[in-house]
Amino acid sequence: MSASKDDSGLPISHDGSRDRVVPPTGFTAGLTTFTSAAMAFLVVFALALALAADRLSDRWSAALAGGATLRILAPAEQMDSQLAQAVQVLKTTPGIAEVRVITPEEQQALLEPWFGPDLPVDALPVPRLIDIREDGRGYDPQGLRLRLAAEVPGAVLDDHSRWQRPLVKAAQRVWALGLFSIVLMGATSAAMITLATRAAMAANAQVVAVLRLIGARDSYIASAFVRRFTLRAFFGAAIGTAAGALAMYLLPSKKDQAMILSGLGFQQLQWLWLLALPPIIAAVAFFATRQATRRELRRLR
């Protein structure tokens, strides 16, 4: 405390003065640390959820891009006409970008691993396949089925990837919700830290008045509070992030067959996101405190 006793005789040292002009801020200090820790902890989970949802939606979207397959099973003499008819129907269906008839050679290649190279594909009642790629809008499967039933009796639409579309939508929504939660937590932290700052300034009204009286600028007075709250927030956020990361790390892994939960977590480089958390929360605290102190100071001449 008593810097005057050291040999240099210098009282308040250059670096330390701003930090010492405001006495310890009591409960507001604890409040800031706790809030930052709690928010960081929650952000870790929201982030994990958002990242997991993003991964799921990516994976499912990739599967979706595979489109659908049309199978045609018809007597040999009708095969070619039905095939042509089906292609005609598909080409005139809105939402379909590309239609490609799988050639018999390709089909042979597909079946070879199971039946060997000598399989006489022509002689067997093997269905012919048409590969369908949707465009961005997607087509209406119900309408297509009705048209096919009327015009191509042997056609079966195998819309295997379609069930995944709502899942992708859901995953994208979870991702957005995760991000929204993170923004909300940031705003909540800012609000709490603003309140803590204002409480600290009210408790130190006398200190602020004295500093003003002796010619301290607003920036000097504000920085005494801002530095303190920013450091507290950083410290709290570091603790909260570490705790959150540990909790994530201890979640059951894939090996435990924990189904959907196994996707919840950080993968490789994603862990680095967590390193950014304490500085970001400290930055939120910095701006919130600066704003609050400046506003409070303006009331005082």
Binding site: M1, S2, A3, S4, K5, S8, G9, L10, P11, I12, S13, H14, S17, R20, V21, P23, Q206, V207, A209, V210, L211, R212, L213, I214, G215, A216, R217, D218, Y220, L297, R298, R301
Partner: protein, 230 residues
């Protein structure tokens, strides 16, 4: 405004919810002079001083501080101006968690001039006000007279052009008030302008042998230069 006036008041009035406190004040604080500001309790002495260092803005009229119009000054301008004005507040006001020497050096720290606070100068200043042995004490541990002297030391550490002292001898005995007066007279001899607000007429009479003081009296909301007979 004359060349050597530090603070000019032009038709200044101060009105608050309770009515008009001061009105039609026109006067100049000349550089190098020694002033007493007197008047009954509640007459507006503190209010007058607060306007002089920009803590209050007059409700009418203009105040010019070091050539700057108070109304046009930004908050930073006011802060910078206060480094040239040493204020001894009526109730002193310290940072109670910092010891005496840190409190006295506070204006230097706030001005980012800590390097100027070399230990020898501070010791000298403390000894000058007779607080050399109290450097490590906390303000609440000081007596009334010690507080007043510490406040005076803090007011002069930036080597201001003018010292505004509000009841500097407020709650000290006669001997101590003479000592404080002596310090202010010494500062005036060093070229500083001094304004002392006090309702203690005996102090003012005693000072007459030491210094040629101008006595301003607030009477009936107006300020007037008092005659020889107080």
């Amino acid at each position: 405004m004359k060349e050597r006036d530090l603070i000019d008041l032009e038709n200044v009035a101060y009105t608050y919810s309770g009515g008009e406190l001061l009105s039609e004040m026109t006067l100049s604080i000349a550089s190098g002079a020694f002033y007493f500001l007197t008047g009954p309790s509640g007459s507006g002495k503190t209010t007058f001083l607060k306007m002089c260092y920009g803590a209050l803005v007059p409700t009418a009229g203009n105040i010019t501080i070091f050539g700057q119009d108070l109304r046009a000054m930004t908050r930073d301008d006011i802060a910078l101006t206060r480094r040239r004005i040493g204020v001894v507040h009526q109730d002193c006001q310290f940072l109670d968690h910092l010891n005496v020497v840190d409190n006295i050096a506070l204006p230097l720290a706030a001005a980012g001039q800590d390097s100027l606070a070399d230990g020898a100068n501070l010791k000298e200043l403390l000894n000058w006000v007779g607080l050399g042995h109290r450097a490590d004490a906390l303000p609440p541990e000081l007596s009334g007279g010690e507080r007043q002297r510490a406040a005076l030391a803090r007011a002069v550490i930036m080597s201001p052009d003018i010292i505004l002292a509000d009841e500097p001898t407020g709650n000290v005995d006669w001997e101590m008030s003479q000592r404080l007066l002596q310090l202010l007279v010494e500062l005036n001899r060093m070229g500083k302008t001094v304004v002392i607000a006090s309702h203690d007429l005996s102090l003012i009479r005693a000072a007459k042998t030491e210094v040629q003081a101008r006595v301003l009296r607030i009477y009936n909301k107006r300020v007037q230069l008092a005659g020889a007979n107080l």
